[in-house]
């Protein structure tokens, strides 16, 4: 265990303890159904959180993702139901639009030296506004492909249903882990977040790396939007409000340093599960106000930020002592 992996172990321990606690109160938590629900219900959140992990490791932030999810849903609903485009073609179209959108934000951040916070905030308003321009109604998607994709379910023993969208999320996480730890792009991301100047000196192509990071985030937000549109079989311009903040919370709870340079994609996965677990527990209980979810997440977030601070301060000192 070292400075980098320590927060990850804490996250995993928190999840294990929380699950054990839930299990002691409600034995139903042992069922595959509850666990499969955790994956299905948080699929869209998980996918977008993978992109967010890269952005935060690189020292940035992306506030536009929730709006991109909503825009994707509305765009797909309009294209499929009103323009009668083949859904697969519509998927490809939205992924390209999202890639261009992300590239635009990345380029502005790099070339105009604007803080990512401001640029992606503008992107957030732009994407949300665009979805309202397309339509203010919620449009159901009745295409047969949607029904078919929603019926693709792996039935687990014990009544659990591992849905297609849950599998997509797991694949995105697997892809994210490979990309972060086994590719050159991944090492650029860590280098950028560690120290931008020294990254430049080391020969990291900062411009293209920054742009690619935001392209990745926006494209994953669009994938998440596709998953969300499958999840609800509809497009709605008010969908997924505040998802960007839930996502950032999951990434931080997952042990990624908010200042960049350090973190693990797998930690984000556990972060997502912790959030889902709290929500499930509160629903199971049925008497607690669901706002306790937010309160619990807030407390966890504080604890983890404090923990990060302690870890970054304590570790180098100990090393000095050892030497």
């Amino acid at each position: 265990m070292n400075q980098r992996t320590f927060p990850l172990f804490v996250t995993a321990a928190v999840f294990a303890l929380a699950y054990a606690f839930c299990l002691s109160r409600f034995p139903a938590f042992a069922s595959t159904r509850v666990f499969a629900n955790l994956l299905t219900d948080n699929a869209f959140l998980g996918i977008v959180a993978v992109g967010m992990t890269f952005v935060i490791i690189s020292g940035g932030i992306d506030l536009s993702v929730g709006s991109v999810i909503a825009f994707t849903g509305v765009f797909l609903a309009i294209m499929i139901e009103r323009v009668h485009v083949n859904p697969w073609l519509a998927f490809v179209m939205i992924l390209i639009i999202a890639a261009l959108f992300g590239a635009g934000m990345g380029a502005i951040i790099h070339f105009l030296r604007m803080p990512p916070f401001i640029v992606t905030l503008a992107g957030m308003f732009l994407a949300r506004g665009m979805s309202f321009v397309l339509t203010a109604d919620s449009i159901p998607i009745n295409h047969p492909l949607y029904a078919q994709l929603n019926e693709l379910v792996i039935r687990l023993p014990g009544g659990g249903r591992l849905t297609l969208i849950a599998v997509v999320m797991l694949l995105v996480f697997a892809g994210g882990i490979v990309l972060a730890h086994f590719t050159r792009f991944g090492s650029y991301v860590y280098a950028l977040g560690g120290n931008r100047t020294s990254a430049e000196l080391m020969g990291v192509p900062v411009a293209s790396a920054t742009i690619r990071i935001y392209v990745l985030s926006s494209v994953l937000a669009a994938v998440s939007g596709i998953v969300f549109s499958l999840y609800t079989s509809a497009g709605y311009s008010l969908a997924a409000t505040g998802v960007e903040l839930d996502t950032i919370a999951a990434v931080i709870i997952g042990g990624t340093l908010l200042t960049g340079g350090s973190g693990y994609v797998i930690g984000t996965f556990v972060g997502i599960l912790i959030q889902g677990l709290i929500q499930t527990y509160i629903t199971f209980d049925g008497t607690l106000s669901s706002w306790w979810t937010k309160i619990a997440i807030g407390i966890l977030l504080f604890a983890f930020i404090a923990l990060q601070r302690v870890v970054t301060m304590a570790w180098p000192m100990r090393r000095v002592q050892a030497a």
């Binding site: 969300f228 999840y231 709605y236 997924a240 669901s290 706002w291």
Partner: protein, 320 residues
């Protein structure tokens, strides 16, 4: 021999014990996925649901979705995983319920929709919906306005949450009622999201846009809370709500009755907050002998005026 009888006796006792346990477990558990607590009416609906469930000895698990559909879907899935006896949903938006309700149907858990409908081709996904006739509510307000103004009035409309079924239906009903009188026109219409602050903001912009409010004869609000916000905006613009600009709304929350008794509002169509009661009765009947309830359990819509407002306010205060 003796041991045998003893054993049999113990087994019998165990059986009795088991069966009483089974009787205790017979108490129905209902999961209720509520939209949130955005308005006074919504809070009253939750409160009434709790007391109605208690009255009938039903355990009610309530989940507040904070106005987010994804939270409602999660809650419904959790209720299914818990194996509740029935699920009540007050859907935040009309679309997007098919796959999760299909899961409930798979698990043989009856679903009741409360106060809002869903937009789905497959009506077998839910057992019944308990709603008011929201188009009729809009119509009642519209008819009253036409009569009151002798068919001449410029109306501004405060719409509810975009895409929600009450917003769509209440707009439709009102438009139907005024369709026959060309002198009554909706000159501006915008969403105030069913909240007081939303209603106030939108009304402020309407007043600015319409010559300081001089062109506006009435405001039609899709719920009372937005109308209360609008009353505030009218007062701040130096006009008299209820006189210079007529205020009519739907829901019948206490604060609106208070405003009516003070002469600042003109009419509201009551939407009964007791949606869970009829649903619970239907559920209990179904569990007892399989009686299928009608698909649409309709609640009554009555219009109220300032003359009875004070008494109605006193009657409702404790409920909200």
């Amino acid at each position: 021999m003796k041991i045998h009888t003893l054993l049999a006796g113990a087994a019998f006792a165990a059986l009795v014990g088991l069966s009483t346990a089974a009787v205790a477990a017979d108490k129905l558990t209902v999961g209720f996925s509520q939209v949130g607590s955005e308005s006074g009416w919504r809070a009253a609906e939750t409160k009434v649901a709790k007391s109605e469930a208690e009255k009938r000895g039903v355990t009610l698990k309530i989940s507040d979705a904070q106005q987010k559909q994804e939270n409602q879907i999660k809650a419904i899935r959790s209720f299914i995983a818990q194996g509740v006896d029935a699920i009540f949903v007050a859907p935040v938006v009309a679309t997007g319920w098919d796959s999760v309700l299909a899961e409930a149907k798979d698990a043989k858990i009856p679903v009741f929709l409360l106060d809002r409908d869903i937009d789905s081709k497959d009506k077998s996904l839910y057992m019944a919906s308990v709603t008011s006739d929201q188009v009729e509510e809009g119509r009642i307000d519209g008819r009253w306005l036409v009569k009151q103004t002798n068919g001449k009035c410029n109306v501004v409309e405060l719409q509810g949450t975009v895409g929600s079924s009450p917003a769509i239906s209440r707009k439709k009903g009102f438009e139907e009622a005024i369709a026959g009188s060309p002198g009554v026109k909706i000159i501006r219409s915008q969403s105030g999201d069913f909240t007081r602050s939303g209603g106030k903001q939108v009304m402020e912009s309407f007043i600015k846009a319409e010559n300081g409010g001089k062109n506006i004869c009435a405001v039609y609000s899709h719920n009372d809370d937005m109308a209360i916000g609008a009353i505030q905006a009218i007062k701040e613009a130096g006009l008299k709500p209820g006189k210079d600009i007529l205020v009519l709304a739907i829901d019948g929350v206490p604060d609106f009755f208070k405003a009516m008794s003070e002469g600042e509002a003109n009419a509201t169509v009551e939407l009964s907050p007791d949606m869970a009661g009829p649903a619970l009765d239907a559920l209990i009947a179904y569990k007892k002998d399989g009686t299928m309830p009608p698909k649409w359990i309709k609640t009554k819509s009555t219009i109220f005026f300032p003359d009875t407002a004070k008494a109605e306010y006193e009657r409702r205060k404790s409920l909200y």
